[in-house]
Amino acid sequence: MKSLIHATLAIVVTCGVLWFAASKLEASGAAGGEGVLTVYNWGEYIDPALIDQFEEETGITVIYETFDSNEAMLTKIKQGGSAYDIAVPSEYAIETMIEEDLLIEIDHSKIPNLKNIDPYFLDLPFDPKNRYSIPYFWGTVGIVYNPNDIPEHITFDSWDDLWDPALKNKVFLVDGAREVIGMGLNSLGYSLNSRDDNELREAVEKLKGLNGNVKAIIGDEITPLMINNEATVSLTFSGQAADMMWENEELDFAVPSEGSNLWFDNMVIPKTAQNVEGAHLFINFMLDAEVAAQNTDYVGYSIPNKAAWELLDEEVINDERFYPPEEMRGNLEVYENLGLELLGTYNEYFLEFKMSLN
């Protein structure tokens, strides 16, 4: 019995000491004063130096938390019990959040830097007049590949190149129903927002033909694999591709001509926010030309900030693979919010496709 009591005491004391140490550490890191701001963002989606800069400029302490999918983020915010001041969902999730009344209207008078944003990225159908959201990053979906490891005739000008027998066991796909099914739809010339079950069926049947070529369907883990030349061809987001190409210069990126997805990640203020004032300060801060330029340098994704473009390398900004000019954006489509039912159908078809792979 004695040893049990001793062990219990030892654990309690250890926890106490650790607790004390943690609070010391937290206190030494915080600026204190103007309260806290909780930011809920994708992993590795901001330059941490900018958070420090923001804390210094405003005296607000930033708590930074990450999510790995729009759906995970939605679940957390919908359930309440958490007080995020800023979140960065993608366009279709923003549409849902507006519909479900989860967002606070943004006071544009507090965001003078909004003038820095290229008008193309404002007033989009998912959020008319940007009442609830302010652009953060944007991009496309395409194929990143290593030209040295595949036959020369494959340039991914067409999605059909993915079906080429020369790519046996070489293709990686992202683990997202809308991306993969959308790719199948695009390759057939259909809209990636198709609501027609026959088109979806046809797309899945075509995708099943990829069987021998698909090596794996994974998530962000693809980045190190592409960088280390362990993977050859991968369906991916443009920003992620830019990130990979930064590390591995052999790689190239293409958006097939049949069309693809155009996406936007915007900053929003959830209803549960505790520091609405600070949230506006943060949004305005991120739209500052220099801040935005530094952020895109770090993250690698395309930025909608035209004032920042002037500060960036010409080479970066004129790279049509990542900053497609407006006339090239014609056959790119933005995801529409299909509603849960149809989204369910997409997922069922995606599951069917995955199961056909083994």
Partner: protein, 264 residues
């Protein structure tokens, strides 16, 4: 007991241990890599270890993870041990069986289901997501494994011991602290260590129920995966590994000595 292993047995054990420790040593090996990735070793460096001690946020997360693991294991062990004693002393066999089945449900339920249902539960009750919700969840999913670890010891125990103590005029409290607990002590420690394991290993449940900036190591690692794991995390696992092995060996030596000196 004398060691009487054949060479084959020794080789077999050696292979099993090599495989068990391979990924850990792989992580630790690259924690000394100046190259920055887990693929090609360039030259020896300690910079990643320095980075751990310079990153307050990471240290806080590391400490949080340890606190949650220790506290949840401790509380789960208390509740679970008393629960196991309660189950064994039940006279209604059917009730006992039902309780045992209910007990096992959480062990075998998928983490996602546990996480999702706990999330619903917490929001219904109105508990803020963060340290409290994570701690409660870890206690909740650790209790059944403690019960499972303690039960065999209780079954093995001779009832006459308790009856004798009661006949000799011992009260319930005495029976519990003087007879039962000392006897099942090995089971209690096993339960505690298993609870610790479950807590340190958990990702999915924590991922669901955490919020407001509270994070544990596994959640942090998962969110870091986007840009490829930074070697700082390798350095952390190196540190964690060395510390745990140290504690275990120390614990072993201490208990061995006390056992030798005859005190239980």
């Amino acid at each position: 007991m004398r060691s009487n292993l054949t060479t084959t047995a020794k080789v077999y054990l050696a292979i099993v241990f090599v495989i068990l420790y391979a990924p850990i040593f792989y992580l630790i090996f690259y924690s000394f890599n100046s190259g920055g990735t887990m693929s090609s070793f360039e030259s020896f460096t300690l910079e990643h270890y320095k980075a751990v001690f310079n990153d307050n946020r990471l240290l806080v997360i590391l400490i949080n993870t340890t606190i949650v693991a220790l506290l949840s294991a401790l509380i789960a062990t208390m509740i679970g041990t008393l629960g196991a004693i309660g189950i064994v002393s039940m006279s209604n066999k059917k009730m006992r069986r039902t309780l045992l089945s209910l007990n096992n449900i959480l062990i075998v339920s998928p983490d996602v289901v546990i996480g999702a249902s706990f999330l619903i539960l917490f929001t219904m009750v109105g508990i803020q997501l963060g340290f409290t919700s994570v701690l409660i969840s870890h206690i909740a999913f650790s209790i059944p494994i403690v019960v499972l670890m303690v039960l065999p010891k209780l079954f093995e125990m001779n009832t006459n011991l308790i009856d004798a103590a009661l006949d000799l005029g011992a009260n319930r409290r005495d029976v519990l602290t003087r007879v039962i607990l000392p006897y099942i002590k090995p089971g209690i420690f096993a339960g505690f260590f298993m609870a610790l394991t479950y807590s340190l290993d958990d990702f999915a449940v924590t991922f669901f129920v955490t919020g407001n900036g509270f994070s544990t190591l596994s959640v942090e690692i998962y969110s870091m995966a986007r840009a490829g794991i930074s070697l700082t995390v390798n350095a952390i696992s190196g540190l964690v590994f060395v510390v745990t092995v140290g504690i275990v060996v120390m614990y072993y030596l201490i208990t061995k000595r006390t056992r030798k000196s005859g005190e239980v």
